[in-house]
Amino acid sequence: MTTLFFWIFAVVVAGSALLAITRRNGVAAALWAASSFIGIAGVFVLLGAYFLAVVEVLVYAGAIMVLFLFVIMLLNLREADLKVVQGPRMHVGGAILGALFLAALVWTCRRSGLFDVPVGAGGPIGETGTVAAPLFRDYVLPFEIVSFLLLAAMVGAVLLTKRRLS
């Protein structure tokens, strides 16, 4: 059952990502990317990372994609702006590079026996409480630094988009 759901989510993730990078329309691309993120949240649920699945849907498919759609609609691009893609050299080069990378990855996984290690059942369960324990015990300092990073990003975004600094 887990395997069946894994394959369904894998097809959703990869197919949506492929559609997201090929759409000319920015809104369609952002919506397909959101579909891909929801697929990833599904894989997280299969792995027992319930907290991260919720965060993925809330932050990625929710907040980040809304921000993307907001900016795409704010810029109100003309059709002519959206039709430009790189020449065939980049496509072919990228495809070769990607195929080499994937082949190396699968070969390494096969060599190290990762295809024989089942995961999912019996793994650590990442509920809110169990993720919070290491987060607030071992990773308190990074947690506080991230809060400052978010503050800095917020101030930076407001400053960058201001029309004129006085």
């Binding site: 887990t2 395997t3 894994f6 990869a14 990502a17 997201a20 990078i21 920015g26 691309a29 952002a30 990317a33 891909s36 990833i40 894989v43 997280f44 792995l47 990372a49 907290f51 991260l52 965060v55 932050v59 990625y60 907040a63 993307f68 900016v71 810029l75 702006d81 959206l82 430009v84 893609v85 790189q86 980049m90 496509h91 990228g94 590079l97 990607g98 990378f101 994937l102 990855l105 699968v106 996984c109 990762l114 295809f115 024989d116 290690v117 995961v119 999912g120 793994g123 650590p124 990442g126 290491p134 947690f143 991230v146 990073l149 990003a153 917020m154 930076g156 975004a157 960058l160 988009t161």
Partner: protein, 99 residues
Amino acid sequence: MTVGHLVTLAGVLFTLGMLGVLSRRNILIILLSVELMLNAAALALVAFASYRGNLDGQVMVFFAIAVAAAEVAVGLALVIALFRIRVTVDADQVNLLKQ
């Protein structure tokens, strides 16, 4: 479902994001592709956290998502600021430093 399958799925997602960055010129789509690549890394981290049997990898993904949110906010602000002065989202037309 094995660790190898999950890592391969993460690799496919990363490759698709890389192809998006390489083959598109729309800055917004390039940013979107970078998000896909970040998600591939998150997927691999959760897979290996499950493999190792502890939650440190999941905590790291939590931080990665927080940093990604900050990155998107600043990145999109830069796109808006750029659009305001150049009226384009074509990455190839932004070559002020080259001239």
